[in-house]
């Protein structure tokens, strides 16, 4: 039987989801009213926003993995924001000091979804939004291990698997804010809860880092810090 360590991140995830459900419960009652487009003189098409995430870049700088991610978001009446996110995820750990394992992958990923502005006064420059994303990536993995020895027989063993084809579909629940700094420039945060829908991890059993999704066995939560420009 495989027993897995229960980690603190799982507990934090559950507590946060419970809190979100409690916070959003009153909203559910008046959901129909909330999601209808407001009737006023503001036109439906309010322009586009392009954004770039800086957390993924910082992850690349300070760890073995991370991603470059940009997004194009359509503003419908300051209320609905259909969005497409495109990124390029990378992971490279060579010769782990404990296990001797090496892992390498890099691939693009795509996300599409919609954000909804939760603020009562929608036509202001700052926004609080909730939304979701559907995401997909197809990637190849190289895994190898130096100095692997059979623990009982003591034979040197080769462990070198290249170009293992993998793919993953997942969903993200998003909550975030963005605030106008000056002119068309906004800065914003988002917190994301990721849930794997379907995955193919090839012939090697599991994959460690999935481009756009992150490390498989870590917390399901992620965050972005976005530089946003109104177009």
């Amino acid at each position: 039987m495989t027993i897995r360590a229960h980690n603190i991140c799982t507990s934090i995830s559950r507590a946060t989801i419970s809190l979100l459900v409690l916070l959003l419960w009153p909203v559910a009652g008046s959901a129909q009213k909330l999601f209808l487009l407001e009737k006023d003189s503001i036109p439906l098409m309010r322009g586009f926003q392009v954004s770039f995430d800086l957390v993924g870049v910082a992850q690349l700088m300070f760890s073995d993995y991370g991603q470059y991610e940009g997004a194009l978001r359509l503003n419908l009446h300051d209320q609905w924001f259909p969005i497409v996110e495109v990124g390029y995820g990378k992971a490279e750990r060579i010769d782990d000091v404990v296990t001797g394992m090496s892992y390498k992958t890099q691939a693009p990923y795509f996300k599409a979804g919609v954000d909804f502005n939760l603020l009562k006064k929608k036509h202001q420059k700052n926004r609080l939004f909730a939304g979701f994303r559907y995401a997909y990536t197809s990637y190849k993995v190289d895994v190898w291990c130096r100095d692997l020895e059979d623990p009982a027989w003591k034979w040197p063993v080769s462990f070198d698997v290249r170009d293992v084809a993998c793919s993953q579909h997942w969903l993200e629940a998003v909550m975030g804010v963005d605030a106008q700094v000056f002119g068309p420039l906004h800065l914003g945060w988002s917190v994301r809860y990721r849930r794997r829908l379907k995955n193919d991890e090839g012939i090697i059993g599991k994959t460690w880092y999935v481009p756009g999704f992150g490390v498989s066995d870590s917390s399901n939560f992620g965050a972005t810090f976005n530089v946003i420009i109104d177009i």
Binding site: M1, T2, I3, R4, A5, N7, I8, C9, I12, L54, V55, G56, A58, Q59, M61, F62, S63, G66, R93, D96, V98, T99, M101, S102, Y103, V143, C145, L148, D150, P151, A152, W153, K154, W155, V157, S158, F159, V161, I203, I204, G205, K206, T207, W208, G214, V215, S216, D217, S218, S219, F221, G222, A223, F225
Partner: protein
């Protein structure tokens, strides 16, 4: 932003399987009824290492209905020596276990290992009557899956 990135990186765990040995489970069976039986002799299992010294894979097991033995990572055939003892009685059999090996990866934080698919088994017949494959897929230690049925000869 840097703090968020560090937090995102830090909030991970090493999630390696606790039972990370890959062992074949041998079930003692009664040759007449094919029902589970008990090992009446004491049994040790050894093999030869790369440097030709002995490695002990099972240390004197007795009165059990099943036992498990480690499998080699990538040798195409494991050669195992089964030593049976019961008072003055002793017998030695050799078991040859052929297999296909599949590299298995969990995480960069976990040691690499190999899973196996048993393809053939044969033995000498001093104490062993016969040995057959019941379930060919061998992965992490799982005592509920019996991979091999071991039928022993009776002796006084």
């Amino acid at each position: 932003m840097v703090a968020a990135a560090l937090l995102a990186c830090a909030c991970s765990s090493i999630d390696c399987p606790v039972q990370n040995k890959v062992r074949a489970v041998y079930s003692i069976r009664n040759a007449a009824t094919n029902a589970a039986d008990t090992l009446r002799d004491s049994l040790s299992v050894r093999s030869k290492r790369a440097d030709r010294t002995d490695t002990l894979l099972l240390n004197t097991s007795s009165k059990v209905v099943q036992f498990s033995v480690l499998m080699s990572y990538t040798q195409p055939e494991d050669t195992l020596f089964f030593y049976f003892r019961n008072g003055a009685y002793h017998a030695t059999d050799t078991v040859w276990l052929k297999k296909d090996d599949m590299p298995h990866f969990e995480s960069v934080d976990c040691k690499a290992t190999y899973f196996h698919r048993l393809t053939a088994v044969r033995s000498t017949h001093h104490a062993i009557d016969s040995i057959t494959i019941n379930n060919p897929t061998v992965s992490y230690d799982d005592s509920s899956t019996q991979h091999l049925y071991l039928y022993l000869k009776s002796h006084n």
